[in-house]
């Protein structure tokens, strides 16, 4: 049985339909990531789950209880905001203690829980400073700690890392995954970054224009996209329409093909093959991305950046091949 259930949720703002008849089930202890382009309705959906925005229709069930009209205070949730929403006049420790004080817990218990949480997120030595002197990463850790200290049933994340630089994002992601492993909380994480979604999520819900295109594990969504939109958004697939397939590979197909960039191999002739011209070669860290052109169609090819790999000059004609099992046929 799922821990969080969204049933037929709909929301409009004036004439704009944000989402309609949304269904989602999140099992206990799972980190579900809502991923989609800006304006697709994911943040509004998160706010509906939080109780900060009322849905027009549908139900929100948390741990079996109907929370659709319950105020946020009664939902047993925690939330990490995009811009932290830390209270600037309170110290780090006071920020953490704020929620516990609302529960009227004994001072000693509050002190102990704050100390334990500061220790967990590695901010013990910053307990007495105000948020303004902290770095972006430290602020986000305080925001996370402030949510976790309430021991919520469900933790919501509203693009919490979008304001951070790449290095800090990576470190925080790892820290978040460690905390989720240790504490086992259920999470709903909103992001527009597909890489972040794949790394953090146990379950991914791809959203576009107010509806879910696909819900599944990261591997399912990445390897078996349900349609063209998911293929383009999540896997950075090469998506070829039937006429393009015919032009590039000389084969007839009633469905579109989705091919991962890493499934395109240069200089091999196994599977379906074609002759391509190299347009550009770009280094993406451990990956080398080669942009190819075949019969007016552009393809992306990713390969490991091996030190012993032979550099191929731009403009060179090469043969490319794709194994049939690496071609995903898309009906939608």
């Amino acid at each position: 049985m799922s821990f969080v259930t969204l049933q037929k949720l709909s929301k409009r703002f004036g004439d704009a339909n944000i989402f309609a008849d949304i269904d989602l089930a999140i099992p206990r202890g799972v980190m579900c990531v809502l991923v989609g382009p800006s304006g697709c309705g994911k943040t509004t959906l998160l706010r509906v789950v939080a109780g900060l925005t009322d849905p027009d229709s549908g139900r929100v069930l948390i741990d079996g209880q109907d929370m659709t009209r319950a105020p946020p205070q009664r939902r047993g949730i925690g939330m990490v905001f995009q811009h932290y929403a830390l209270f600037p006049n309170l110290t780090v420790a006071q920020n953490l203690a704020f929620g516990l004080q609302q529960l009227k817990l004994p001072r000693e218990e509050i002190r102990n829980r704050v100390r334990a949480m500061l220790d967990l997120v590695g901010l013990m030595e910053r307990a007495t400073v105000r948020p303004r002197v902290l770095s972006g990463g430290q602020r986000q850790r305080v925001a996370l700690a402030r949510a976790l200290i309430m021991e919520p049933k469900l933790l919501l994340f509203d693009e919490p890392m979008s304001a951070l630089d790449a290095q800090i994002r990576k470190r925080l992601r790892e820290e978040l995954m460690r905390l989720q492993r240790e504490l086992g909380f259920t999470g709903l994480f909103v992001t527009h970054d597909q890489e972040e979604a794949l790394v953090i999520g146990d379950q991914i819900a791809v959203m576009q224009e107010g509806r879910f295109l696909q819900v599944g594990t990261p591997l399912e969504v990445y390897n078996r996209p349900a349609n063209r939109a998911v293929a383009r958004f999540i896997g950075d697939f090469n998506v070829l329409e039937p006429p393009e397939i015919s032009r590039v590979f000389g084969q007839e197909s009633s469905a579109a093909w989705a091919i991962h960039p890493e499934a395109v191999r240069i200089g091999m002739d196994e599977g379906v093959t074609a002759r391509a011209r190299i347009l550009a070669v770009r280094l993406l860290g451990s990956i080398v991305r080669t942009e190819l052109q075949v019969a007016g169609v552009q393809l992306k090819c990713d390969a490991l950046n091996r030190p012993d790999a032979v550099q191929i000059a731009v403009g060179t004609e090469v043969s490319i091949s794709i194994l049939p099992q690496n071609i995903r046929h898309l009906k939608d």
Binding site: Q73, G78, F81, H83, A85, N89, Q102, L103
Partner: protein, 265 residues
């Protein structure tokens, strides 16, 4: 590293400070001068004028009246303005624009017109008779004081993500009131303190309303100043110097108390 001020910088700043403080020093000197005419400094000094004013019963009455009216208006203006400014900013942003225009309205109308309006309002035409009592003056100062809270507090509020604070507080189990009291209000404390000082200074130094609304029936310091202005210049100087002291002491107390609250928050 900050460059140290040059001699010219010091000269400019000292000149401005002197221009500001010289009239006050001149008034203070005149309060203890035996005679001061045709010379840079008084020819002799005496405490006679000070003693004469301190023994004048009108002086203590005027001080008491001014303090009652100033603190009274301050308390009412605080109770009315602060919740209104917060409520408009947090929950009624559309009405906030109207409030911004409304708070400066008393300054767009000549004081005498407003005073006549207040006299008509509180002369019993609507069942409330306050003419001749300090209440009419007190209620007359409140609309003037709202702007002094609204402008500086609004500037502080604009720099804060108040909606996010309220939402974060709700998720943490707090009521909006708790978030406003523990987070938002301490964050706008600098604006609040400016409002308090400005309100007090306005009420204690105001003459037009005091003269038209209560006049001799409830003489304040400004009314007494007006009376003394037709007599001895030395006595008037003592009164003005005393007024400066009262304003300085009251402002220091307000700043200290507000500063303590800010630090405690």
């Amino acid at each position: 590293m900050v460059r140290r001020g040059s001699v010219l910088d010091w000269l400019v700043v000292t000149f401005v400070a002197l221009v500001q403080i010289l009239p006050v020093i001149a008034v203070a000197l005149n309060a203890v001068a035996t005679d001061w005419a045709g010379s840079i400094l008084p020819t002799g000094y005496t405490w006679r004028w000070v003693e004469q004013l301190l023994h004048d019963p009108r002086f203590t009455v005027a001080i008491w009246h001014s303090l009652v009216v100033s603190f009274g208006a301050l308390v009412i203006a605080t109770c009315v303005s602060v919740p209104a400014v917060l409520a408009a900013h947090c929950y009624l942003p559309r009405l906030d624009r109207w409030l911004a225009a409304l708070v400066i309205l008393p300054y767009a109308v000549p004081g005498i017109v407003l005073a006549v309006g207040l006299l008509r309002l509180y002369a019993g035409n609507y069942g409330v008779v306050l003419t001749g009592t300090p209440w009419i003056l007190l209620l007359g100062y409140v609309p003037l004081g709202v702007a002094f809270f609204y402008v500086p507090m609004k500037n502080n509020l604009r720099a804060l993500p108040v909606s996010e604070f309220l939402e974060a507080g709700r998720i943490l189990g707090a009521s909006d009131f708790a978030v406003l009291r523990r987070v938002v209000l301490p964050c706008v404390m600098p604006g609040f303190v400016v409002g308090i000082v400005m309100n007090f200074s306005l009420a204690v130094s105001e003459f037009v309303y005091a003269n038209l609304l209560v006049g001799g029936s409830y003489p304040t310091l400004q009314i007494l100043m007006n009376v003394l202005s037709s007599g001895s210049g030395h006595l008037l100087s003592v009164l003005i110097t005393a007024y400066f002291f009262i304003v300085a002491i009251a402002t220091s107390v307000l700043l200290t108390v507000s500063g303590r609250q800010d630090r405690a928050a």
